[in-house]
Point group: C2
Chain length 154, copies 2
């Protein structure tokens, strides 16, 4: 087992999971603040130069896990590792946010999809994309195309 500590938390307008946009075409333009604990502030030096950050956080309101999940964007179950379900063996979440500004140990960001008070484990600079022409998106692309929304239909 590996023990992970909170390095800070999210200040978000979302107080309830129901409020967070989910599923196909969900836009995450919501702004919020990442409040890093005082002792870790020196770790933020030079972060302002990056437009996007990867936030590693904890689904800390999620309990237990299931090895299959039926996402809001589809009506078929998939293996949990082929989804972003919160109910996973390790409740670790990733969100890419846009860094708008920094004030000391507070980072104002756009694109949050976390609840208020969510524990942050790590922040990393977003460095590169996968070439678009090589990216395949499995069941999600199928769901978006509306090709197989009725698995028991004609």
């Amino acid at each position: 087992m590996f023990a992970m500590q909170e390095i800070g938390h999210v200040r978000s307008p979302y107080k309830d999971a129901q409020e967070i946009p989910k599923g196909l075409g969900a836009k995450h333009e919501t702004e919020g603040v990442l409040e890093i604990r005082e002792e870790f502030e020196p770790g933020l030096a030079d972060i302002e130069g990056f437009s996007h950050l990867i936030i590693v956080w904890v689904f800390d309101r999620s309990e237990g896990y299931s090895l299959t999940a039926t996402p809001p964007s589809d009506n078929r179950p998939h293996g949990v590792f082929a989804t972003r379900s919160p109910r996973r063996p390790n409740p670790i979440a990733l969100t890419v946010v846009e860094l708008l500004s920094r004030e000391g140990r507070r980072l104002r960001v756009r694109g949050i999809d976390m609840l208020d008070g969510t524990a942050i484990l790590d922040i990393k600079p977003y460095l590169s994309n996968v070439p678009e022409e090589r990216l395949r998106r499995g069941w999600l692309a199928e769901a978006e195309a509306g090709a197989v929304r009725e698995p028991f239909g004609t």
Copy 2:
């Protein structure tokens, strides 16, 4: 504190950190296998549809942390959260790999930069890129441009 468990491990040709390409222009084309524990195999259902996966793993050979780090690609120290340094408050690493094939609970992938035996915490589908025209890469872009490689020079 949050307790995280190993869901599997990496089979890699790298036995020593010195062997892993690092720094500017390092290419990660190395192939390896992600061996998921038997109990978690049902969680892999439908993962074959995705070309790229995000592997969440542990810098399990790293000890302690430092809030500043001088990366191999630069000669200036930066805050640890603006780098990919392994010596971070929570030793969590992310690698995007290309999924080549699946045999049961073994995923053959390209692009690994982990040591043999490294603990895996989670696997997620890679779903989307940041628009290239909006991506800024801070000190890394500067280092790549060779603009400031000699901070004490003329």
